[in-house]
């Protein structure tokens, strides 16, 4: 396997982009990554998209979007792993370069979610859970995470306020990100007073419905060196693991086994541990998700995720800043694009070009992108060389 570098990244302003089609949204992000890399072509393209069929009535996105690039009949592959589709698309691009199959590959993520109404969007998202044995009973995605939150609160004493502090932190970070969908700051009181969706999850515990895309360009590390890319950003690890899709089938409702497994593999590949990380971009689709993810990544002890945001451990100036971009919570969550947007943030943090939200001395960044209630996780580690 060859060593791989990321030499370009792109993302547009996220939000309810009613005036733009998915083609425009995707192509803008793709071209930004290609221009950022300073290359004139790519040999292959991967696109992570959770549900083009349900959100847009459009499948066959590999071909449709590859054609938009104007780079000839290159292979275009659509990758799906629910909300982890973007991370998995990047991993496929990584494997294509590492294996020697291609020398310059574009990894992208896309979701156009606002062409359908709220009921349809909720249904489309729910297909990431077990349709026959979870959704049939009337459970929703916020409902599934609410059940994880209650289990965590019961067992570890995690408080309602601690969940709110995750949203407060991520909106504070997002307020410094010009591309974020909801860059406003929120208070813990506002979170705790917002509309109840599925007890104990309130609307300000949830990531939003978003249109958006993000992209990155990968080449062999040796090629990046010859191109005199500075700073060099190496993919130090790429890992993927799965778990049972239905929450109720898992032995421990408070533990994200797929994240723990992917992280273990990633740390081994990179030869690092959680204490070596400069910062992380993690999948905070709900506030409780960030609490459980940082436990599974080993940033805090099992059961201690609740106090991390409250105590400032995961703040921009904390021991391990988590979601300096604002996370899914503030930046937005166009599901298939999220994994690539996390990587785009890491690239900019490692280049130290993030302005007010720059993590000090950023050298080693981790991304964790998760599908459903954690039935799939993709973890990457990036190193500034």
């Amino acid at each position: 396997m060859r060593e791989v570098a990321v030499i370009g990244a792109g993302m547009n302003r996220w939000g309810e982009l009613w005036e733009k089609s998915h083609r425009e949204i995707w192509t803008e992000a793709a071209l930004e990554a290609i221009d950022d890399a300073g290359v004139d072509h790519v040999e292959a393209m991967y696109v992570g998209c959770m549900s083009g069929g349900l959100f847009m009535g459009q499948e066959h996105l590999g071909a449709l979007l590859a054609d938009q690039l104007g780079m000839g009949p290159i292979p275009g592959t659509r990758v799906e792993s629910a909300c982890a589709s973007g991370g998995l698309a990047f991993r496929q691009a990584y494997l294509a370069v590492a294996s020697g199959a291609h020398d310059i590959v574009l990894a992208t993520g896309l979701e156009k979610m606002t062409d359908v109404d709220g009921g349809m969007a909720t249904y489309a998202l729910s297909t990431a859970a077990d349709q026959e044995y979870e959704c049939y009973q009337g459970i929703t995605f916020p409902g599934l995470y609410a059940m994880m939150a209650r289990a965590h609160m019961e067992r570890y004493g995690t408080t309602r306020r601690q969940l709110a502090e995750v949203a407060v932190k991520n909106h504070l970070h997002g307020s410094m990100n010009a591309l974020a969908q909801f860059p406003m700051k929120v208070t813990a009181e506002q979170v705790e007073g917002s509309v109840m969706v599925a007890d104990p999850i309130r609307i300000l515990d949830c990531s939003p419905i978003t249109d958006g895309a993000a992209a990155a360009v990968l080449v062999p590390l040796e090629t990046a060196k010859k191109m005199r890319v500075d700073p060099l950003i190496r993919v130090a690890a790429s890992a993927h693991a799965t778990d049972r899709i239905a929450l109720h089938e898992r032995d421990d409702l408070c533990w994200l086994a797929s994240t723990a497994k992917a992280a273990e593999s990633a740390y081994q590949q990179a030869g690092v541990g959680p204490t070596d990380l400069s910062f992380c971009e993690v999948h905070d689709c709900f506030t409780i998700a960030e609490v459980m993810v940082i436990e599974a990544l080993g940033l805090v002890d099992r059961g201690r995720g609740g106090s991390a945001a409250e105590g400032g451990f995961t703040a921009l100036d904390g021991r391990v800043p988590v979601n300096p971009s604002g996370g899914l919570k503030s930046k937005g969550h166009p599901v298939g694009a999220t994994g690539l947007a996390q990587i785009r943030e890491v690239v900019h943090q490692l280049r130290r070009s993030c302005g007010d939200r720059q993590v000090k001395d950023a050298r080693l960044g981790l991304t964790q992108n998760m599908g459903g209630t954690g039935a799939s996780t993709v973890v990457h580690v990036f190193e500034r060389m």
């Binding site: 044995y133 459970i139 109840m196």
Partner: protein
């Protein structure tokens, strides 16, 4: 959204609570599988779910998905049955606000959705609290 062939196919689980017990290690799976997730065994015997269990966690759905709007607010929980099987299901015939983790519940046959898009009345299992 539930087509008639799919609904018919799921009847053994929804109406008769049919699970599969691994001949080799004894683990019970609901729905049945072709391979035991615990030991890799491929031989199973049919077994009916135990009707009694405990609430492992739950939520109260305020914003309901399509087809459940009329029922909100309603409780949905993860129930651990006494045979070790865990399920997601509604917990009904109670004040949802009075529920607690650990509460004992019993499985009952109920109508789950008012009306599928294909006109099928959708039945299945729900749980009701057992007097403390």
């Amino acid at each position: 959204m539930i087509g008639s062939a799919r609904y018919w196919r799921e009847v053994p689980q929804r109406y008769r609570y049919e699970a599969a017990k691994c001949v080799k290690c004894g683990e019970v799976f609901f729905p049945p599988r072709l391979v035991c997730n615990g030991c890799g065994g491929r031989e199973f015997t049919k077994q009916t779910l135990e009707p009694n269990g405990s609430v492992e966690t739950f939520t109260i759905i305020q914003v309901a998905p399509t087809g459940f709007e009329d029922q909100a607010p309603y409780a949905v929980g993860v129930i651990k049955l006494d045979d070790g099987v865990k399920l997601t299901a509604q917990i009904v015939d109670c004040d949802p606000e009075s529920l607690a983790v650990g509460d004992r519940v019993r499985l009952e046959f109920r109508r789950v959705q008012q009306d599928g898009e294909s006109g099928i009345l959708c039945y299945g299992y729900k749980f009701v609290p057992v007097a403390k």
